[in-house]
């Protein structure tokens, strides 16, 4: 099957006053139609930069190389106007902190209807009706009244629902969700995750779900990519990843997550810390923290190798 969105050999570097920062290194990604692909990584792993590069949202000092193929077209080579159309019609995003993405000066009615008025050719009344219907869809009660609220009048969970409504209103094909529940309380998080799952199935969306939390991946995703220091270290179906993790980093991360969920007696962590990303990596990026390292790992950077449906970048697997 042809993936709906494919990225080839994506690298992102930043030119800073202190030198080059290597944020994403030669990453491939395929998102199949109707699937939820999780991208898991800790801070600095490059997951957000990767996502931003997919729809060319990077800042000016970024150097981006590679290809992003959507509907047979390389998005990265497209003109600004073409990209804007794709962002408006096909690929929607929701972010971690809805408060900083909503305009505090505008009522949510204006923000919800803006895209429909500019790109959808709808009248104001039609757009309002659709917006209210969509707010009901994301389970905001009294939608007809609440649409006249300002963002500050809504709770964090409500704001995330509004963001989701805004994303779905243009009937996109792909939804990119960047840590959509990280800022929320755990009971609200459960509600939003359930809603997301339900709506993505209903709309037949293909989803890129970016998170640092493996526990959320377990319940939301079909396939998972684990990133470490700008590299994809493991790619697998959700069951393979959780029940037979291959890469030592995945194993360590999973053990930490399990212990934090009370699934083991001892609290587990991975010793050390992620490497600085201001040098070009020559050996395995996880070398310094790995408990299964061999001599080869220090000087020789492993590439992603697949054995069936699961692939990992690790010398332990040949």
């Amino acid at each position: 099957m042809q993936p709906i969105l494919a990225a080839r050999n994506i690298s992102v570097r930043f030119n800073t006053t202190k030198g080059i920062v290597y944020a994403v290194n030669e990453v491939d990604l395929e998102l199949n139609k109707g699937e939820v692909l999780g991208i898991v990584g800790e801070s600095g792993s490059g997951k957000t930069q990767l996502m931003h590069s997919l729809i060319k949202l990077l800042p000016e000092n970024a150097v981006l190389s590679g290809q992003v193929i959507y509907e047979g077209q390389n998005i990265l080579a497209a003109s600004a106007a073409q990209i804007n159309t794709i962002r408006s019609n096909d690929i929607a995003m929701i972010f971690q902190d809805p408060m900083s993405c909503l305009n505090p000066y505008l009522k949510i009615s204006a923000q919800l209807t803006e895209a429909m008025l500019v790109n959808g050719g709808l009248s104001k009344t039609e757009a309002m009706q659709q917006a209210i219907a969509m707010l009901e869809k994301v389970q905001i009660s009294d939608a007809a009244l609440r649409i006249h609220s300002y963002p500050y009048q809504l709770s964090g969970g409500m704001r995330q629902r509004v963001m989701l409504a805004m994303a779905l209103l243009r009937n996109p094909k792909i939804l990119i969700a960047d840590e959509p529940t990280t800022a929320l309380d755990v009971t609200v998080q459960a509600e939003i995750l359930q809603l997301l799952k339900q709506l993505t199935a209903e709309y037949g969306l293909s989803v890129l779900f970016i998170t640092h939390d493996l526990s959320i991946v377990a319940g939301q995703c079909d396939r998972v990519m684990v990133m470490y220091a700008g590299n994809v270290v493991e790619k697998a179906s959700v069951d393979d990843l959780f029940y037979q993790p291959k890469h030592p980093y995945t194993q360590g991360l999973l053990a930490s997550a399990k212990s934090q969920s009370g699934m083991s007696d001892k609290l587990v962590s991975i010793a050390g810390q992620a490497p600085a990303n201001n040098k070009r990596q020559t050996g395995c990026p996880f070398y310094a923290r790995c408990n299964q390292r061999i001599d080869l790992c220090e000087q020789n950077k492993p590439v992603l190798r697949s054995n069936g449906s699961q692939s990992q970048a690790c010398h332990l697997y040949g």
Partner: protein, 333 residues
């Protein structure tokens, strides 16, 4: 003051040490005036941040305070050190505790809590300047070396600035800064929430090590239950400024008595796809249409076990066992 305090060892009263109460809070309430929006509206209105909170902090133990954002957990911690005045009830502090000296804070966002213009050395030693006794350079360097070693920092990096360190290391600086004055009680306000999953346990284990080394009493604040179970002896669950459940951590986890505590435990996602596929979602309680009277149980709007009595009065605290209290008319079995 003895600046070279040896680790506290409770030789003669080893057995009774854990029963010694350092802070006792009795039916304490905290309310903040709400700024009036009307010019001639004379009756002042108040927001009750904490209502009727009672708790005990025992020496050498860890008390976990859990609650969602806005539940009053940070207000509670700040009230304990006297940064916020109580409006009712009282706080009794043991004779040997001087809050400003013996209670220290570790904050959630380590980078925001550390002055970017100070070196690690200045950051860690700064609290000593506010203590009564001045100490000489040699002694302070000795202390600095010792504390940096204990929290897992490299003494040779003492001239660096906070931004040169990772989040986990910054939190270690924050802990060293709190520990330099030899506090008896350490209040940790979400100390690992901002950190990566793979390094959280490092910081939790460090706090535990310091606790056993110095006989520290810890107050550990968190917005979810995940890490609290490893570090706390006792746990308090706050909901809208009220203590809804209180007791022995293991007991509260295995047999939550309050519907809210249970909801917190159930809502936590688990890194287990099979478990998540079996997950049943509780029906969403929409309390917006429902008119909740002011004197009703604070949790009534969201409670799936709500009955008519819950709408009429605020439940008093009842003991489920000698290890567990719950403020609910119909505690879960």
């Amino acid at each position: 003051m003895d600046h070279n305090r040896k680790p506290v060892i409770f030789m003669d009263n080893m057995l009774t040490a854990k029963d010694r109460i350092l802070i006792q809070v009795d039916r304490m309430s905290v309310s903040f005036p709400i700024p009036s929006t009307k010019l001639f509206y004379l009756k002042k209105q108040f927001f009750n941040a904490l209502s009727d909170v009672s708790l005990e902090i025992r020496q050498g133990c860890t008390l976990g305070i859990v609650g969602e954002s806005g539940s009053g957990k940070t207000t509670l911690a700040r009230t304990l050190v006297g940064l916020i005045k109580t409006s009712a009830g009282n706080i009794k502090v043991a004779d040997n505790i001087i809050p400003t000296r013996d209670i220290q804070f570790v904050f959630q966002d380590p980078l925001a809590a550390l002055n970017p213009r100070l070196t690690v050395e200045q950051l860690i030693l700064e609290p000593l300047d506010y203590q009564q006794a001045k100490i000489d350079v040699q002694l302070s360097q000795q202390k600095l070396k010792q504390i940096m070693q204990q929290v897992g920092l490299d003494y040779s990096q003492r001239q660096r600035y906070a931004h040169e360190f990772s989040g986990g290391q910054c939190q270690r600086i924050g802990i060293a800064r709190a520990m330099i004055t030899n506090p008896k009680i350490l209040i940790c306000d979400e100390p690992v929430s901002a950190l990566d999953v793979s390094v959280r346990a490092q910081v939790i284990n460090l706090l535990k090590d310091l606790q056993s080394l110095y006989g520290l009493t810890l107050i550990f604040i968190a917005h979810d239950l995940s890490l609290v179970r490893y570090i706390s002896d006792d746990i308090i669950v706050l909901y809208q400024g009220r203590v809804v459940e209180q007791g022995d951590t293991a007991r509260v986890f295995s047999h939550p008595g309050h519907p809210y505590t249970k909801a917190l435990i159930v809502a936590e996602p688990r890194p287990d796809p099979e478990f998540e596929r079996q997950r049943e979602y509780a029906p969403r309680q929409s309390h917006k249409e429902l008119k909740i009277p002011e004197l009703a149980c604070a949790y009534a709007g969201r409670c799936q076990y709500r009955q008519s009595r819950c709408m009429q009065a605020q439940p008093e605290r009842i003991a489920l066992s000698n290890k567990q209290n719950v403020a609910c008319f119909y505690p879960l079995k």
